[in-house]
Subunit: 111 residues, 2 copies
């Protein structure tokens, strides 16, 4: 059993200027998927694009948006989002407070 907290875990800055906390990652021996917490400051975005692995997201703080290639949705606390492998996506904070979400990916990607 391994336990941590967002406040105890160091974060990294992404190229886009967002914050990422690797909460449950390959370092602790997870066999299949890694759990991160992502926070986008007001007015900021994630890099748009696609990749061969999926995202499973759960919004825990603030409000924002997700854009697909032909769609756009408002997101708020309690929303769960599935982005399929190779699906274009971008998360946007168009609000005035930090927009934060849990994001689970298959193990070994993105680092």
């Amino acid at each position: 059993m391994y336990i941590t907290n967002v406040d105890k875990t160091p974060f990294n800055k992404t190229k886009s200027g967002n914050k990422i906390w690797w909460l449950l990652g390959k370092e602790i021996g997870v066999p299949n998927y890694e759990m991160r917490y992502f926070e986008i400051p007001p007015g900021n975005k994630t890099s748009p694009g696609s990749h061969p692995w999926e995202h499973e997201v759960f919004v825990i703080k603030g409000k924002g948006m997700v854009k697909g290639s032909n769609e756009e949705h408002t997101l708020t606390v309690g929303d769960a989002v599935y982005i399929a492998p190779n699906e274009y996506h971008q998360f946007i904070n168009n609000g005035e407070k930090p927009f934060g979400f849990i994001c689970v990916i298959p193990k070994g990607y993105e680092r």
Copy 2:
């Protein structure tokens, strides 16, 4: 892309009297892992035991505890918990409000 919200998703009652919302499950085509939201009412517990798959948990509501075979930890909002495959565990709500957490498992188990 698929989006839902805890409030829009029907929940099931577990044998132990807890509530489970299958937010991102095999029905929507997730390839590797499923995301659920779990809520334990005050004074209730999950069934103790172990199974061959892991849990990755993130606490979003209330306070509670997790017991392992030789350990016991208080849990609060912002905590992330990894339970390894075959590790004994039990989640307990010893508080006075609902205790809620996201729980991710490999696809195809528990249903």
